[in-house]
Each structure stands twice: as C-alpha cells, then as structure tokens.
C-alpha cells in the first residue's frame, strides 16, 4: 500500500511569485514526516504539490520532480485526478460535504472510483470509520448529515473519507489547528495507528505535536517576507528537537525566532 516519496529540485509558483525554492527530500513508506516552520514559509504549498493540488490555485505551477515509488507525478500524460486518488489529503478545517450523510461522506471517494455493491460499500464504510476511531460514535446515525458532528468528529470523518479509498500516501495540512486539545489527542493517536498502513506527511504549527507524532521532521524557513520558502533541514525528529545541525532550526524550536 504505502509508497516512498522522492522529491527533487521542486519549486512552486503563484503566478510570477516563487513560493518555494528547490526542495529535495525523501519520505519513507509507513512513516510520519512532520513539516514545521513559520507562517508563509511554504510548507502547506509544498504539501499541496505532493498531490498536485497546488496547480488548482489560479496561477499555480510547479517545476521539479515528485516520484512516487519511482513514478513522476508531474510526468506528461499523468492525470492529476488519478494522482489525487492515490495521494489522499486532510485539510486544516474539517470539510465534510454538508449535503451528504455521514455514510455518503465516507463513500464519496469510493463512488467516484467505480461502482460497488451495497454490501461492499457498507463494509468499507464501517472499516474506514473504525480506522478513524469514529465508528462507535456514529454507527447509530450514519444517515444523519456529517455537518451535525462536532469539529473533532468532523475531522475524523474527513480522515475516514480519505482512507476509505486506500490511498498510498496521506497528506495532512494542520489537521488539528481548528480542534480542542481532546480532539487533537484523538487525531494524534489515530495518526500513530494509520502509519502502519500509510505514508503520512503532516504540516503542523505545533512543535510538541510534531515531536509526539512524527518519525522525521522537516524545518522550512524563508529569508524574508516575499522571498521563497526553503527546506532548511530534514532529520530524525529526535535529532531535530535535541541537536539540530542548523542554527536556524534550533532558534526556531527554542522560540528564539524572528
């Protein structure tokens, strides 16, 4: 299931503005990689280049290579729709489809990919909701709208929706920043379970969170406002937080930033 990501020489633009500059890194399968860095350093932009969501923004374009087990996502002839079916994404604000029931939300991606029998669909929806630690809370109201759930439940519903299609990689863009500490804890526990099956990349502003959930951490920074963001270093999370090799990283994680 899980695949390795190899990024080389990747730059992303918004129109003529270069948002991230020449990033190269490797993300191992079945691991959690956290992206940290100040606001505007391009970590979310970089995340969105990994499933070709960046180019959805008007003026968004990308240079460089992203290899998923050796296959370039940006090779000509690759349909971005197929890339996004392989690389799932969870967003900052929980965004279940408001007009769909809980069941239909989880089944939404499956229904895009093909036709399933009702019994298969039931099975996958249950498995996905269990995988997102949400099954016990919603099993009696699967036909109720997903927007009636609490914020934390909605975010786990979005995770269930993303893992229902069995992606190779799961991207998470600050998945806990809109949630309270208890819901955050639930999601962090979930990330620990999900990494058995998926390659996970998570953007977070919360350094304790990065330290708690990730195996490797990448620190992004920008020289000044208006300058492109750069990857400063990527290493084992323990090393980044105890003994980083670059001074800027240490300044940032110890709060001596800016």
């Amino acid at each position: 299931m899980a695949k390795r990501i190899d990024v080389s020489g990747l730059s992303a633009y918004y129109g003529s503005h270069k948002a991230i500059d020449d990033i190269s890194m490797t993300v191992e399968p079945r691991s959690v990689t956290a992206f940290i860095g100040p606001s505007g350093c391009g970590k979310s932009t970089f995340l969105r280049t990994l499933n070709r969501m960046h180019e959805v923004t008007p003026g968004g374009r990308v240079e460089g290579k992203v290899l998923l087990d050796g296959d370039d996502l940006y090779a000509s002839g690759i349909d971005p729709v197929n890339v996004r079916r392989t690389v799932g994404m969870v967003f900052q604000r929980p965004n279940p489809f408001p007009t769909m029931s809980i069941f239909d939300n989880v089944a939404a991606g499956l229904r895009l990919n093909g036709s399933y029998k009702k019994s298969e669909l039931n099975e996958i929806v249950e498995k996905s909701l269990k995988g997102a630690n949400l099954w016990n809370e919603v099993k009696d109201r699967l036909n109720k709208p997903g927007s009636g759930l609490s914020g934390g439940q909605q975010q786990r519903l979005c995770i269930a929706r993303a893992i229902a299609v069995e992606p190779q990689v799961l991207l998470m863009d600050e998945p806990c920043s809109a949630l309270d500490p208890i819901s955050t804890l639930a999601i962090e526990d979930l990330i620990g379970e999900l990494k058995e099956r998926f390659t996970i990349v998570i953007v977070t502003h919360n350094m304790q969170q990065a330290a708690r959930v990730s195996d490797r951490t990448a620190f992004f920074n920008l020289a000044a406002v208006g300058q492109p963001g750069k990857l400063i270093e990527i290493d084992e999370t323990e090393r980044i937080f105890s003994n980083p090799s670059v001074q800027a990283t240490e300044d940032y994680i110890s709060g001596r930033f800016g």
Binding site: N51, M53, V56, V81, N82, V83, R84, R85, T86, G88, M89, F91, R93, N95, P96, F97, P98, T99, M100, A108, G109, L112, N113, P145, S147, G148, C158, R161, A162, V165
Partner: protein
Amino acid sequence: MDIATQTETAPPPPPPATTEQQRASRGATRPGDRIFLGLSRGSGIVLLVIMAAIAAFLTYRAALALSDNTGNFLTTFEWDANAIPPKFGIAVLAFGTVVSSIIALVIAVPVAVGIALFISHYAPRKLAVPIAYVIDLLAAVPSIVYGLWGALVVAPNLTGFYSWLDTVLGWTGIFEYQGGAPRSLMTVGILLAIMILPIITNVSREVFLQAPKMHEEAALALGATRWEVIRMSVLPFGRSGIISASMLGLGRALGETIAVATVLSPTFLISASLLDPGGGTFAQNIASKFNEASEYGRDALIASGLVLFLITLLVNGAARMIIARRKEYSGANA
C-alpha cells in the same frame, strides 16, 4: 479589572436599572439608531400596506364581477364580459399561463444553470467577464422588442423545428403539428425562456461563485474531476439558489404581458397539442381586452388578475417549502 480580582471579591449587586438605562441598553436613544429604526420599520410597514391594498382592490372588484357572472368562473371557455349578462371563465387563461411558463422553465433552467456553471467554474476569466456582460444585456432588452422579434423572426422560423417535433413526438398528441402560423403556446414558452434566462443565470452564477472553496477542495482531493467537483460540492450548495432563481424567472414568465400578446394569436380554446396556434394567458388577455372593456368587463379582467396574483403567491410558497425542507443539509450550518 482582571479576572483574578473579579473572582476574589464578590461583585456588588447591580443597581436597579432605571428606565433611562434600559432605553440606553436597547440602543434606541442615539439619533442615528432612531432614524435607521424608523426608516427600516417604515419601509416594512409600507410594503405590507401596499400588498394589502392590492389584495383588497383585486378582491373587491373581482367580487363585483363574479356576482354578475352567468358562466362558471373556473370552467367556462369564453370571455364575454362586456355582454349583458356577462359570461366568462379563466380555464383557458389559467391553462395557457401555466403551460407556457412551465415550457419556459423547462427550457431555461438547464440552459441557465449550464451558462452559470460555465461562467463560474469553466470559462477562463477573459471569457467569463464578457459572457456575464452579454447575459446582463439580455436582461435589459425591453419586452416589446422580444415580442416583435418573437412574432417576426422566431415564430416564422420555428415551422421546420415543429414539423420535426411532429414526426418524432407527434404520436404523443402533445407535439402534433398541423402546419400554419406557429403562434402557439410552445412559441410563447420558447420566447419566455429566452426572456427569463438572464435572471436565472445571474442568480445561479452568484450562488455558484459562493460555493465554499473548502468543499470543492475536499472533492478535488478525493480525485474528483471538474464535473464531479461541481456535482459533489457546487450543485448541492447552489440547490436552493437555483430554486429561488427559477421562481424569480417563473414569476416573470407568469406575468409577462406584451411579448405574449404580440406573439400569440389568442383564442378561447384549449388544444391538446402545444403546437396548435391559439390559447391565452392572464396578462395577455387583460392587456388586449382592457381598452375596449366596459365597467363590468374591467371587473372581470381584474378577477382574472386576482387569480394570477394567487398563482404567483402559491408558486413562491411552494418554492420556500422546497428550500426549507432541505435546510438541515444546506451548507449554511457547516
């Protein structure tokens, strides 16, 4: 005072509020507030008074006419309101009004939604702006111009299309075409469709543009194609907007007068085929008969106007019900 000191010392009991303080807390003492309150309340009341006055006027004059009517107001296929005793009924008008408006909606809504989606989600900006502008222009054309164009250009050119409809769907009876001038309810419906297209397009486009980006991205991230994104996030969000837009269009189609009067060759017959010339609508009938009508005749026409008023109210009420029924699933609570 910070929170810590607040919790340590019990707050003193609030002094009994004087009437002045109460008024101040309602915020009505400032002149700006008072003026605005007066203005908005006044506008609301004026609106209600105007509605009530129209309803009272229609009902009163209609009652006069109906008391003298020797025909059945609902089922008579005749309009002899100037005769003594008068004999008239609205069956043909109601049929013509409703049928031509439904034809207009059936044609206009899919086209308008298509154009709106094209402008909001498909067209590059360079193309979207001029198209939106042309659509606005379409709304500015006076209805008499539509009527003349419909009678002189559209209708004569529809004979070929109607012959084709007859060969394909003639067996249903609804689309039987005998030849002759196509000044039929179908032609009126097609013309009305063009006339209500701008308003439905514009309202739908506005709603589609407001569809939350985060739901579109949710669909995209699941691997949805552009059409699937629209189906999963834009259309469900825009549903109530499309209904409201259609109702605005329907309101215009039901009440359209001069364009219908120019195109239709009015008869007091209901024909099974939509392509047969003849028929009539409330507004067209009032416009074409009002000048030569006697006192009784005018009251009879006003009675038919009251029915149109009621139909419009019913349509609006039904639309509101449809919108309210799906409120739980609307994007509003997300």
